[in-house]
């Protein structure tokens, strides 16, 4: 059960991410990013993070991606044209990225024995566990982030306002 769910949603994740990479039009990239985020929410649920799974759907695939799609529609973005200003990115970046992935994957796969395996329902963080830590030990950082969001809202309003 766990294996089947993992394979389905990990496959969806990778397919969505590759689709984001290869699509030319930003709206297609945005919609495939929604697929990635929603299937990541299922993976969080498999890892026992029930609050984060719902927050992922509500905050990421809900709020943030709606903002992205809204801006894409507002600016009436067309498909991007390929330019040749990025030759260094192609020549040095792509082999670098492949090397990064190869190194990370080989490290993780060599540690397979030490890391052990994840079992469904072995470790479940309920919302009350999470909120106990958040509101008792980490109350100050939590309040500071609320100020950060307030400042971000003000900044967004000021930046996006039409100048007279």
């Amino acid at each position: 059960m766990h294996l089947v769910l993992f394979l389905i949603f990990a496959g969806l994740c990778l397919a969505g991410a590759l689709n984001l990479l290869f699509q030319r039009h930003p709206i297609n990239s945005a919609l495939s990013l929604i697929v990635v985020m929603t299937s990541l929410a299922v993976l969080y649920l498999l890892l026992g993070a029930e609050f984060l799974a719902l927050a992922q759907i509500i905050v990421y695939s809900g709020a943030i991606m709606v903002l992205f799609v809204f801006v894409i529609m507002l600016l009436n973005v067309s498909a991007e044209e390929r330019t040749h200003g990025s030759r260094i990115a192609y020549l040095a970046g792509i082999p670098g990225v492949l090397a990064l992935f190869a190194i990370l994957a080989s490290i993780f796969l060599s540690l397979t024995k030490n890391l052990g395996s994840a079992q469904l329902g072995e470790f479940l963080v309920t919302t009350s566990d999470l909120s106990r830590v958040l509101f008792r030990d980490l109350l100050l950082p939590f309040e500071v982030t609320s100020v950060l969001i307030l400042v971000a809202i003000l900044g967004a309003v000021v930046l996006a306002r039409k100048e007279h």
Partner: protein, 100 residues
């Protein structure tokens, strides 16, 4: 029973795809979306290690990353709208001056 390392390899793959999208894409909105993809990949690694060590703090970290990502998306998209108003383009090759 899934090896923990599979989740970590998936996270590394998503991060690498995010980095390559960041390098290849020429549209500023697509570049911004690939940053979000990289943040998500790191979040998956955090949740996986939280599961492995049976610690709640990894998930708290993901919570804060989500909050900061939401703030970043709001400000970033406002900057993109401001850039588009002043230059009528979203191609990063044509946005190479801080001042118009």
């Amino acid at each position: 029973m899934i090896p923990i390392s599979w989740y970590l390899v998936l996270s590394a793959a998503l991060f690498s795809i995010g980095v390559s999208a960041f390098l290849i894409k020429r549209n500023i909105i697509s570049i911004f979306m690939s940053i979000e993809l990289m943040l998500n990949a790191v979040n998956l690694a955090f949740v996986t290690f939280a599961h492995h060590w049976h610690q709640v703090s990894g998930q708290i970290f993901v919570f804060f990353v989500m909050v900061v990502a939401a703030a970043e998306a709001a400000v970033g998209l406002a900057i993109i709208i401001a850039v588009f108003r002043s230059r009528d383009t979203l191609n990063v090759d044509q946005i190479n001056l801080m001042k118009l």
